[in-house]
């Protein structure tokens, strides 16, 4: 299955291990993710004002690329655009929903992008997790596992943009289960967290790191009280706030113990037997000692 894929800026720099591990996991499942040619930054956050058209242009231009891939024969009638980053997913899906329900807005954007083909509203923006659930299915995922994550207590962290607002979210906004099902399919144990969809402070990390470190504490302690060894996420900003900000959390809360934060695709790569591609050397808090202790890395994988 060939699917067009939008990486977004952060997956090319701070979150390289998210992309590389996702590629390895997808390939193992028979999915070829083809990067959009000439993609551009989506804007990271959506403009929420009713009179702002300009800030949706960047998102829509990316959707035009999907149409072009079909026109150029790179894809055959495949208009589902796969996104890994939760924030890019939210932005692209929101802009797409806005223009497909507002013909005059779409017309304005198309007239403005006068060197691009018109966007025809044909693209469907999908998060990679949706493809795993709806296309592959958790049963097939389970059968693809070669190195089950036995004994590893994994806590899902959804954050905001994967679930909210309701019309964009990929699962129930208040009680999601998609990551829990994935963890079980990979052979791990689910550690629930009452704060699994509590905002981490998002872009406040730029000017108000303490506010973020406080939320980091709350979220990690919520997972720890439920026995978690590790937290998984699908957002590179949540990952930065939960992972790198623990250095500040440690200073604010004496006695606080660090917990590794991973992208869900890193654990998929590990469970599928691609330890190198999982990119565990790219995380701020080193997860390798924990994974060694659990006997999940450095072992011969049965092929």
């Amino acid at each position: 299955m060939k699917l067009p894929y939008y990486p977004g800026c952060t997956l090319k720099k701070n979150a390289k291990n998210f992309e590389i591990s996702a590629m390895a996991a997808a390939k193992h499942l028979g999915i070829e993710l083809i990067e959009l040619p000439r993609w551009n930054c989506c804007g990271a956050v959506s403009s929420l004002t009713s009179d702002d058209v300009m800030h949706h242009v960047a998102a829509i231009r990316n959707l035009v690329r999907v149409q072009q891939m079909n026109d150029d024969g790179i894809l055959e009638n495949e208009y589902r655009l796969i996104v890994l980053c939760s924030m890019c997913f939210n932005v692209l899906k929101r802009s797409n929903m806005l223009v497909t329900s507002n013909a005059s807005m779409l017309n304005t954007i198309n007239s403005f992008m006068d060197t691009e083909p018109d966007y025809e509203g044909t693209v469907e923006v999908k998060h990679f997790l949706e493809i795993l659930r709806d296309e592959i299915g958790f049963e097939r995922l389970k059968n693809a596992v070669r190195n089950p994550l036995k004994g590893l207590k994994i806590s899902p962290y959804y954050g905001c943009t994967l679930l909210r607002p309701k019309e964009i979210g990929i699962d129930d906004a208040e009680s999601p289960s998609i990551m829990e099902n994935l963890i079980e399919a990979l052979g791990g144990d689910v550690a629930d967290n009452p704060y699994k969809s509590l905002c981490c402070g998002s872009y406040h990390t730029v000017g108000n790191a303490e506010v973020v470190a406080q939320r980091t504490y709350k979220i990690i302690e919520g997972a720890r009280r439920n026995g978690a060894d590790v937290i998984i996420t699908s957002c590179p900003l949540c990952a930065f706030n939960l992972d790198n900000r623990q250095a500040l959390t440690e200073k604010l809360y004496p006695g606080f113990k660090r917990m590794p934060i991973l992208y869900f695709t890193q654990l998929m790569a590990l469970a599928f037997g691609y330890e190198k591609e999982a990119g565990f050397d790219g995380n701020f808090i080193n997860p390798i000692p924990l994974l060694e202790e659990k006997g999940l890395i450095g072992m011969k994988v049965q092929k």
Binding site: K13, G43, L48, H55, S202, Y203
Partner: protein, 118 residues
Amino acid sequence: MLLEKVEEISGENLYACYQCGRCTAGCPMSGEMDLMPNQIILAIIRNDESVLNARTPWICAQCYQCGVRCPKNVDIAKIMEALREIKLRKNVNYIDVRKINRSYPQIAIVAAMRKFTG
């Protein structure tokens, strides 16, 4: 008048709010705010311009929790955005772009610039 301006920019009907406070109860940032989200709505309805100087809209991280829980489907994140925009459109920035640490992830820098600068 403020109410009209906020309604126009946000596209939201503020009179739909009946002050139940579920937005405030669910807000992960309410502890950092000087006015609670439901108080912000009330102040706007009263055309109280001082709300433009409140810390609250700048603390809102656009997590959409309030909108998900609002029994009247008021999208409060859009109202916070309208309050920010009234300032930003007059070229009053909330952060100094030159002071941003460039080692931060792009996603954080771009998002902060989109929300805090005009």
